[in-house]
Symmetry: C2
Subunit: 598 residues, 2 copies
Amino acid sequence: MRTEYCGLLTEAWLGKNVSLCGWVQRRRDHGGVIFIDLRDREGLVQVVCDPDNPAMFEIAESIRNEYCVQVHGAVRARPEGAENTDLISGKIEVVCQQLTVLNASATPPFQLDDDTLSETTRLTHRVLDLRRPQMQHNLKLRYRVAMEVRRYLDAHGFIDIETPMLTKSTPEGARDYLVPSRVHAGHFFALPQSPQLFKQLLMVAGFDRYYQIVKCFRDEDLRADRQPEFTQIDCETSFLNEQEIRDLFEVMIRTVFKNSIGVALAESFPVMSYAEAMRRFGSDKPDLRVKLEFTELTDVMKDVDFKVFSAPANMAAGRVAALCIPQGGQLSRGEIDGYTEFVRIYGAKGLAWIKVNEAAKGREGLQSPIVKNLHDAALAAILERTGAQDGDLIFFGADRAKIVNDSLGALRLKIGYTPFGTEKGFFEPGWQPLWVVDFPMFEYDDEAARWVACHHPFTSPKDEHLDLLATDPGRCIAKAYDMVMNGWELGGGSVRIHREEIQRKVFEALAIDADEAQQKFGFLLEALQYGAPPHGGIAFGLDRVVTMMAGADSIRDVIAFPKTQRAQCLLTQAPSEVDERQLRELHIRLRATETLKA
Amino acid sequence: MRTEYCGLLTEAWLGKNVSLCGWVQRRRDHGGVIFIDLRDREGLVQVVCDPDNPAMFEIAESIRNEYCVQVHGAVRARPEGAENTDLISGKIEVVCQQLTVLNASATPPFQLDDDTLSETTRLTHRVLDLRRPQMQHNLKLRYRVAMEVRRYLDAHGFIDIETPMLTKSTPEGARDYLVPSRVHAGHFFALPQSPQLFKQLLMVAGFDRYYQIVKCFRDEDLRADRQPEFTQIDCETSFLNEQEIRDLFEVMIRTVFKNSIGVALAESFPVMSYAEAMRRFGSDKPDLRVKLEFTELTDVMKDVDFKVFSAPANMAAGRVAALCIPQGGQLSRGEIDGYTEFVRIYGAKGLAWIKVNEAAKGREGLQSPIVKNLHDAALAAILERTGAQDGDLIFFGADRAKIVNDSLGALRLKIGYTPFGTEKGFFEPGWQPLWVVDFPMFEYDDEAARWVACHHPFTSPKDEHLDLLATDPGRCIAKAYDMVMNGWELGGGSVRIHREEIQRKVFEALAIDADEAQQKFGFLLEALQYGAPPHGGIAFGLDRVVTMMAGADSIRDVIAFPKTQRAQCLLTQAPSEVDERQLRELHIRLRATETLKA
């Protein structure tokens, strides 16, 4: 039915007859001639319908936008001056000899080129939304990325092995999606949050190198970049250490960026410890495009006569830090008030600041509501450590470290991304990948009053920290690493525990007793007894990688049929009510408060 | 840690130092020297530990089967006569200089080379079972097949687009796996039985060519070749007709067989109508390796004075057919009795037979309990149509056509697969692919008292049969096709309906009223209104394709972590009980008869 895609028809076809299939993007009547912009997934081509072929012309007159048609015709050069350099097919046009309507179209509920559509409209009419060139581009890019990943991993000895979707519920971390069993009354499968344990078992089974591009599921409250089901590039290898694993996957990401979007990433990604990232940027996924950095002030604020600073400076989990904005003196009082409001989102109670008008004048040269509260040594330390120049503005965060990091970290990005930030050179566009390494093994969960795993309970501690598992879990560092780019976590992984006795110690540190460990993870503990190899891996979020490459606003723009933030499919109306008969077969009933379908 | 895989170490490495990582397959002490067969996923290599390196030798003495070790050593030629031609590494051995135990192993619960293990043992200790070379081979083959499929489809413009796993329940066909929604009380997602509607929507959205290697789910009672979750190679294309689609995927399968297992399939697969396949073989997936065929006798048995034959011959849905076994006269009475028992499994009430001792003698030359019941014309027709020679045996089936086809079809294979069948040349080993086409659109479901779709409700009828949808659905033929090989359905597909009004007519024929159609398939009907292109596709069962290629007994042997026939994972003990808290969050409770976890 088709000689070539519309969007790929070039001068190579000049003088030849072709068949094309596609959709009517636009029909223009001009000087008695009908021009059709015919669209397929590869782009547009111009079709010319002359009235000297009346049968064909009559059909051309009848067609409307989004009709699906077939065109037979001859390729000719466009008249001089009528070329369209935006199109691959822009130098030619097709003179229509025969026109067949393959399927008519009702008038679409919106114009495909309307950029102001609400997300609800787009997701309800997703099929038409997907016809838009941007969505076609995004999903083709997604495919190209996945295929490049496969090519790279294949060339490096990784094999794709499928792991089960119907697995066991281990309520740890996020909430599971459950699937009631019909055969085993009162029992449930869980959809996998990741194939973590299965891929480790495949290493124990000797497959050496595994990967899978695989759906994972988390029943969490959704944020802009989360979906109930998301796709991981999930990888695991035996017999490589932390550094070797990072190198392998750094080259993978570099290769994929190069081959998918022609971007050459840095030859060698910077490697930064978790501690350094928190200290300098208040974040374990710092956006290095923003050149602003924190200044540590906790030590110098311990003895100031200003409780707002001294109290957190003297707390074990407290922090005082500054963010110096070069030439920030130009910010208006209104802007500063706006930022004060902004940091409240992150729990900060306020946003202290100092404008450096004339540093040489000492205290007199500083404009600020708080200067009077700080002794000379503190002021000197602020100026020296921030390196503030006349005209700069210094913001302060003082609170529990988490609040300081979150609020000042968000402020750093917010100011960096403003036109002011760009203008002053705080923001350098481009791609800024890095590795964040040396994560803590555990963080303390105040609510549960126990240590929880920062990564997951199967992550190996550093060899030299094994003793800390029992004595001081908070100081125990993990062989874990995240790949971060432009402030997004693209992937994360770790070297895993491959010795049963260490796995048991980690379970103990997490207050998982032997019975619970056996019941939940007995199969892992058993597998580790039979010569489990040293192994580790990483998982990348495909949705995120592609969203970032496509420059899309949301991961929903790189997923064909996404759910809303209320975890609904507006196209098919899933989830939906089901028959009572189905529930009965599954040995469940709805809770009394719920209505049943008749 | 490793220079090369153990199993790939060849003479190219002679004289060089290497590092190897792997598992101890076997340790032999021979003349004061310790030989280790070291195994990794690529195979074995022999490691020689001499006592003149006491530190290393002491470690060598300590190691046991399935220890995970690292070996540094030098590659040398094996002594003459000690080569092992079964191994890629069989001409060399590695003289161990340094031996490191990476992880010790408890004594495995079974020998890896034990071929008599029960399936329960194998699935309970799946990690060790997967270390067996056969399982390593099967999963590597599976990967190779999937990758070849991707390469082919990529080269032909197909793009992999992911479709949702959390979809809408449409109870039609098999039973859905349901997933309760936490956010929408009383509502459920369903896991997809196939991405059928989504791939059609992608065609309407203009993606032109789609594929996905994707998990599908059916909550059915399990048979030997079924799993609750299985993997489809799911494909769809626009703008190709039935023949073109078949050609494209025939070449794909031929390419994949060639590149994965080096098998050259027939240049052009035979194409057989459903009607012909049923007539000649009683099956829509005939195993053409078996050379026996049915003989139609319904017409000649209408007027015989033998109710067993004449009653079905005069029923609308009845059939009388024969299966002539050349030289079958050699079968013993015991064997014939055995076959009589066998066909009862398929509902046959008995198995009539005639031994042709001397055809020239007419009735006298035939040995059979039923000859006396048949008139001369019937006997003559039997001999003529079957072409039976002296010494042959003719079996008869007479019943509802389904029972005749099932029972005589099974008998045909059973006899074909016996040593007798092979010896007499009824069975020709090799690969016998074919297309079965022209399936009926509908079959009548007596229980539901309505027509149901043979393929699925989105399959297009033949253009010339559109009118039959309303007038005579039973005679309406579909644009559907199955690819069959050696008696297995490898894949099936169809040209789809791309016009809304035809889709509505098919729903009507299926007694799905407008309201129900709107509620279940409204999104499809809407999409078809906007210039849906002509499209069609096919889905192959990856598990089956690989099982067949691997010559495995069960699809469980080509799946890393399969479920049992009771839909259980013996390794992880899924499905399992869950916390009451989880159920409460999902707005469900167990039925009163079920016990709750405390």
